[in-house]
Structures are given as structure tokens and as C-alpha cells.
């Protein structure tokens, strides 16, 4: 009996020791992102590669529908129940950093000087003090999509290179029915889609302005440049009548249906357009200003390490972060999702830069700016209402712009004070 007791004690101790050793060997970290099939597939590939290289770490991915994602993350992370590594939209980072829910990336593994040398410059928005809080795998930029069939039919040889050419091209592409109603628009319009980015970061800059000051805390577009930009933008609809707001319900729907000659959209639209049968489309860089000025807007999702990851989980999370921000991971992301690599070394390879679809977007990244939003939907609404007032209440360019600048400044003041 005594013998048996001793043996059992020994066996239990051995089992405990083995279990402890086993758990020390296999660290499991949790990764969260929103559900978009190619993104999930790309991440599965990355996790597989990462686990092969690091057999002692397993990564568990959880994804949620996009509509719930922001709320789910915001509810889970403060409760200490969420992921160790999380994907966040760059614009949300501020709130997470202020609430100390995101840990800075260690300087020895992610030296800021190296990041600044390797990544596209807009990634610097992720720096707080002398440390980076989060980094993207992929970035998105804007370009001009155009319908090749409609171009051929109108006898236009290629996409417009300048803003003036854009107006002329749009005029040729616009078609009206017998009653004078638009049946095909030259270019889509709608501040609700990507146009508010085009206006903010591209048109205002091209007309010689700088849309914000003080690190995006102060609105600076109620200027002559802003007025010229708004006049150019609203003239498309109200003077040249080459477009109409709400045509075919949504700008991208009009383009998909072949009822729009041109459409400004982000690189994330590529996948959806590839699925449209019978649509022959091309991509070009956003048209330059008369003096040749180019600009673009870039946005991105970043990966960050949450405050939940400690000790060996933190080390594993750092290793995982290092991998998902590597050139290899960026190429996987580009091939699977169609989103552009966040580093010139991965983006500017000959094959990528000369790619007929990705090329124009990648060129745009070189001179793209990233708006730091306090409340993107609120700030977008200010610009939508700006054009809405001109359409529905005949407000002048100057008054409407001034009112929009005031509304947006109020949102920024409420947020930062």
C-alpha cells in the first residue's frame, strides 16, 4: 500500500512537471481581425509559415464581421479578454494608446530609425514619443479607375493625366437620355465614398493648400486653395454636369454597372471589380494639377500588441509582429488580398511597380498623405453636408466651405480638449 502511494505520488509529480514543461514550450497567442475572406486566407498562410519557423508558438486567429469588429474589440480589450495581437484601423490607435491598451513595440526589435528608413513615410503617424505603437502589413492608396469600353466608344485614347483633362474626358463620356436625364456619368461623385479623401489630401494640396495644421488638430482649408478645390470638385456636378450625386445609388455601383466612365477609389476595390463579368477596366494614377503636383491619400490597418500579452506571450507576440511586418508577409498579403506592401522594398519591386493594376496605386504611395482623423464619419459628414448645402440650398462655395471648416474644427476641438 505504502509502495503504491509512493508510486502514485511520483507519477503525479512527473505528470505535473511534464505538463508545466509542455506549456512552457507551447505558447499560444490570440490574433483578431475582421472578416474579409482574402484577409483571413492571407493571415492563415502567414500563421502557417510563422508556426513552421517557430514550432514553440501557436497563433489562434479569431475574426468578426466588419460591422461588429470595432465594438467587439473595444469591449474585449479593456476587459482583458481579447487578443494578444490585434488589427486596428490606424485612426483608432489614439484611443487605444490613451487608454494604455496597446503596448509600444520594443525598440531593440523595432528600432524607430530602421522603421523610418524602411517603411513608407505615412507610417510615421504610428509613432508616440520615441517608440512605435503599431505597424501595418499593407497600405491602401487611391487611383483613378476607368471603363475601357466607354473610353473606346468615346474615342478617348487614355486616362486623363491632369485635372483639366479629367473635366474634358468626363464631358466626352457623359451620356443623357431623351428627357435630358443622365444615363452614364463621366465620373462618379460622392463625398460619402472616397471623394472626401480626394478632396482633403489631394485636391486641396494640388490647388496649393495644406488641409490641416498642428498635426491634423486644426482645419486649414478655408483658404483660397480650399475654395479653388471645392469649386473644381462641385463644378463637375453643378456646372459641367458630368456627374450627379446618388446616381445608381452608390458611386462604385455605377462604375461596376458600366454606367460611369471614371471612378476614384481605393486599392481595396480591386478584388470586387475583378469579380464583375464583362467589365473592362483600367487603373491610372490620380490626375496631376496643372503645375504637375501629385498627391494621394493612404490609409491602413495596423497590428499592435495589447496590454493583455505579458511574459512569454509578449515575447511570442513580438516575434509574430516581426514576421507580419516582413517583406515576405507583405508579398503574401499583396498576392492574396491585393493590398499594397507597407515598405518600398517590398512594394517597389519591378514586378509590382510595373503591374498594370497595382502599379498606379504603388506610385501613389510615394507621395501619399494620411489624414489623422478624430472621428472619421463625423469629419466625412461635414464634407458631405458641404456639397449637400450647395446642391439643395444653393449655398455659395465660400459660405459652404467656411461652414464645413467650422463644423470639422468643432469635432476636432471636442476630441482633443
Amino acid at each position: 500500500m505504502k509502495q503504491l502511494k509512493k508510486w502514485m505520488l511520483g507519477a503525479t509529480t512527473a505528470a505535473c512537471a511534464m505538463y508545466a514543461a509542455g506549456s512552457a514550450q507551447a505558447v499560444e497567442i490570440e490574433y483578431w481581425q475582421y472578416f474579409f475572406e482574402p484577409r483571413v486566407k492571407a493571415m492563415e498562410t502567414l500563421i502557417e509559415n510563422f508556426e513552421k519557423a517557430n514550432p514553440d508558438i501557436t497563433v489562434k486567429m479569431t475574426h468578426f464581421p466588419y460591422a461588429d469588429y470595432r465594438t467587439k474589440v473595444a469591449a474585449a480589450i479593456p476587459a482583458g479578454q481579447g487578443p494578444d495581437v490585434v488589427q486596428l484601423f490606424y485612426g483608432w490607435l489614439n484611443d487605444y494608446v490613451n487608454a494604455q491598451l496597446i503596448q509600444p513595440l520594443p525598440n531593440d526589435v523595432f528600432p524607430p530609425a530602421e522603421i523610418e528608413a524602411e517603411f513608407f513615410p505615412m507610417v510615421q503617424a504610428m509613432k508616440r514619443g520615441d517608440q512605435y505603437m503599431a505597424l501595418p502589413t499593407a497600405v491602401r492608396s487611391l487611383a483613378l479607375f476607368y471603363n475601357k469600353r466607354l473610353f473606346d466608344k468615346a474615342g478617348i485614347d487614355g486616362p486623363p493625366k491632369t485635372l483639366d483633362e479629367l473635366v474634358e474626358t468626363a464631358k466626352k463620356l457623359t451620356q443623357k437620355d431623351g428627357a435630358g436625364n443622365l444615363s452614364t456619368v463621366g465620373i462618379t461623385t460622392g463625398m460619402n465614398a472616397q471623394d472626401h479623401h480626394w478632396f482633403r489630401e489631394v485636391l486641396i494640396r494640388q490647388f496649393g493648400g495644406d488641409p490641416y495644421m498642428d498635426n491634423y488638430k486644426k482645419v486649414n482649408y478655408n483658404t483660397d486653395a480650399g475654395k479653388a478645390a471645392l469649386k473644381y470638385y462641385s463644378d463637375l456636378e453643378f456646372t459641367h454636369k458630368v456627374t450627379a450625386a446618388g446616381f445608381m445609388d452608390e458611386p462604385q455601383a455605377a462604375f461596376k454597372a458600366g454606367r460611369a466612365g471614371m471612378h476614384i477609389d481605393g486599392s481595396f476595390r480591386i478584388g470586387a471589380l475583378n469579380k464583375v463579368r464583362g467589365l473592362k477596366w483600367g487603373v491610372a494614377e490620380l490626375p496631376a494639377a496643372a503645375d504637375g503636383t501629385h498627391s494621394n491619400y493612404s490609409s491602413y490597418w495596423v497590428n499592435g500588441i495589447t496590454s493583455k500579452a505579458t511574459d512569454e506571450k509578449y515575447d511570442a507576440a513580438v516575434k509574430f509582429m516581426k514576421y507580419v511586418t516582413s517583406d515576405e508577409a507583405m508579398q503574401v498579403w499583396l498576392d492574396t488580398v491585393g493590398e499594397l506592401p507597407a515598405k518600398p522594398s517590398a512594394a517597389m519591386t519591378e514586378a509590382n511597380a510595373n503591374h498594370e493594376v497595382y502599379g498606379p496605386f504603388i506610385k501613389g504611395l510615394g507621395y501619399a498623405k494620411t489624414t489623422i482623423f478624430a472621428n472619421e464619419s463625423g469629419q466625412r459628414q461635414a464634407l458631405m453636408d458641404m456639397v449637400g448645402r450647395m446642391r439643395l440650398e444653393d449655398q455659395s462655395v465660400d459660405d459652404s466651405l467656411a461652414q464645413a471648416a467650422g463644423e470639422e474644427q468643432k469635432i476636432l476641438d471636442d476630441y482633443y480638449n
Binding site: D177, G190, G246, D249, D385
Partner: protein, 297 residues
């Protein structure tokens, strides 16, 4: 167990009654009363869902009452109520009154009126949204254009957008109201009508002196019920104006959409809670007023 055994039968019955009643009570306390109390508390705080909740006193309410958007939205909410409740009730009554007298295909027609009530509000809102589109995809405008009539900017106009959104909401609720009205009509004893006929009372007088007064409980129920529905309108507006939520220029935004926007786009939870408390108060006051006004003397 010993204590339970010593109880008398009536005491045991009380224990069981409370035991069973406790389930819904606990349920209500956990999923209704606690969150409600918490929301009222939150309306005096500032919270972005991530950081800590900070007390701000009446700041949220001060901000709310000095926000011109809030007053616009407040007006819209009542516009939905003032336009929606009378027109839907009148329509439902007229339909129910005539349907009640109809024998031919009675069941089928009743089912047709009830069908929209069973349809998902989201699906219906999207179908109507497409109906309202300008040429070349909107049914209404395509028809107008065929006859050479200028297009109506249903959803792209500050004047037409709110009634355009209200129309499918009224249509969707119609089936339910028709059924309730018909039940009310059937409950009126036939003897009153027979007596009226013998006395040679006109059809109009029969309607105003017998039918409508005796329908009062039904009308009170429907007025309160549909008022709450219109004050809380959200699905139709949200789905029909996703391009410009509550637009154009806030002309269709109801209070619930503003709450949603403040909470889940601006992540300003305290401010959203203050709006919720205001909505709650409005609903309470309107319901109590209606019950009082329409109470039997």
C-alpha cells in the same frame, strides 16, 4: 429541506409562486432595469468605451440642448410621429372597415395586407430605396421619365426624403393595425347596428355614434403602440440612407439614429446615453399623455 416540509400547503404554494415569478423578475432586473439605471448613470459621465468613466455632471445635457443638430433631429422625430400615426391609423381604419364588409376573397386580401408586416424591415427598406432611385434604376422615376415628367428627387431632397422614408414604414405597419381594427369591429355587438337600422339612422351617424366610440379601446391601443413605433423609427431610415445617414442635411435623422451614430461612430457613450434618457422621457410623457387624453370618462 426540513423547513420546506414544515410549511403548510398554502405557504408552499406561496413559495412556488414566488420561485416561478422570480425567474422573469430576475431576468428583467438583469437585462432591463440594470442597463437602464446604468444608462442614466452614464449620461452624467464621459466614456469612449476604452478608458475609464469620468464624471462630467450635466455637461452632456448642456451640450445636447445647445446642439442645433439635436433640435433638428428632435423635430424630425416628432414629424415622423405627427405624420405617421394619424395617416397610418386613418388608412388602417378605412381598410379594416371596408374589408370587414367584404366576403369575396376576404382571407386572401387580409393576408396580402398582413404580408408586409411579416417581411424584414431591412429587406423592405432596401427595395424601397431602389424604387426611389433616380433614372436609370429607380422604378418610380423611370416611369415618370417615360411620360416625360421631370424626376422627383425622393431621397435626395430635404423636402421629400422624410415622407419617402415614412411611406414604407406606414405600409409595413398597416397589416397589424388592420387586423387589430377588424378584431375591434367584430367585437361590437350586432344588436346596436340592428337597433340603429330600425331607428333609421344614417350610415355616417352609425359610424360616428356607434362604431368609433365603441372602438375607443382599440384606437387608444393603436395610437400608443404606433406612436412609440414612430418615435423609435430606425431601421427604415438607417437602411435607406446609408450613403448619408439621416441625410440629406439631417432632414431624415430621427433621435435613435443620432444615438446610434454618437455611440458607435463617435464612441461618445456618455453623450449617447444622455440622448437615450431624453428619448426615454419623451416616450414616457407621450404615452402617459395619450393614455390620459383618451381615457374613458
Amino acid at each position: 429541506m426540513g423547513i420546506y416540509k414544515r410549511l403548510s400547503i398554502s405557504q408552499k404554494q406561496i413559495v412556488w409562486a414566488w420561485g416561478l415569478l422570480a425567474i422573469p423578475i430576475v431576468f428583467y432586473v438583469v437585462v432591463r432595469f440594470y442597463p437602464t439605471a446604468n444608462a442614466i448613470l452614464l449620461s452624467f459621465q464621459e466614456w469612449n468605451l476604452l478608458g475609464s468613466r469620468n464624471w462630467t455632471g450635466f455637461d452632456n445635457y448642456v451640450k445636447l440642448f445647445s446642439d442645433p443638430t439635436f433640435w433638428k433631429v428632435f423635430g424630425n422625430t416628432f414629424l415622423y410621429l405627427i405624420l405617421g400615426t394619424p395617416s397610418s391609423l386613418l388608412l388602417a381604419f378605412v381598410i379594416a372597415f371596408h374589408l370587414d364588409k367584404l366576403r369575396f376573397m376576404h382571407g386572401t386580401i387580409r393576408a396580402l395586407y398582413f404580408l408586409p408586416f411579416m417581411t424584414s424591415a431591412v429587406a423592405m427598406a432596401w427595395v424601397w430605396r431602389w424604387f426611389y432611385q433616380p433614372v436609370p434604376i429607380g422604378v418610380f422615376n423611370n416611369t415618370l421619365a417615360t411620360f416625360g415628367i421631370p424626376q422627383i428627387p425622393f431621397l435626395n431632397s430635404t423636402t421629400f426624403a422624410l415622407p419617402s422614408i415614412l411611406a414604407p414604414a406606414i405600409w409595413a405597419g398597416l397589416g397589424f393595425q388592420v387586423i387589430i381594427f377588424m378584431a375591434g369591429l367584430r367585437a361590437i355587438p350586432q344588436t346596436y347596428y340592428e337597433a340603429a337600422r330600425i331607428d333609421g339612422i344614417s350610415a355616417w351617424e352609425t359610424l360616428t355614434e356607434i362604431t368609433i366610440p365603441l372602438l375607443k379601446p382599440t384606437i387608444v391601443f393603436l395610437v400608443v403602440f404606433s406612436s412609440i413605433g414612430f418615435l423609435r423609427i430606425f431601421d427604415q431610415v438607417f437602411n435607406m440612407t446609408t450613403n448619408d445617414p439621416g441625410g440629406p442635411l439631417n432632414s431624415t435623422k430621427p433621435l435613435v439614429l443620432m444615438i446610434y451614430d454618437t455611440a458607435f461612430n463617435s464612441f461618445d457613450m456618455g453623450y449617447a446615453a444622455a440622448q437615450t434618457v431624453v428619448l426615454f422621457t419623451v416616450l414616457l410623457v407621450v404615452s402617459l399623455l395619450q393614455l390620459r387624453v383618451m381615457r374613458d370618462k
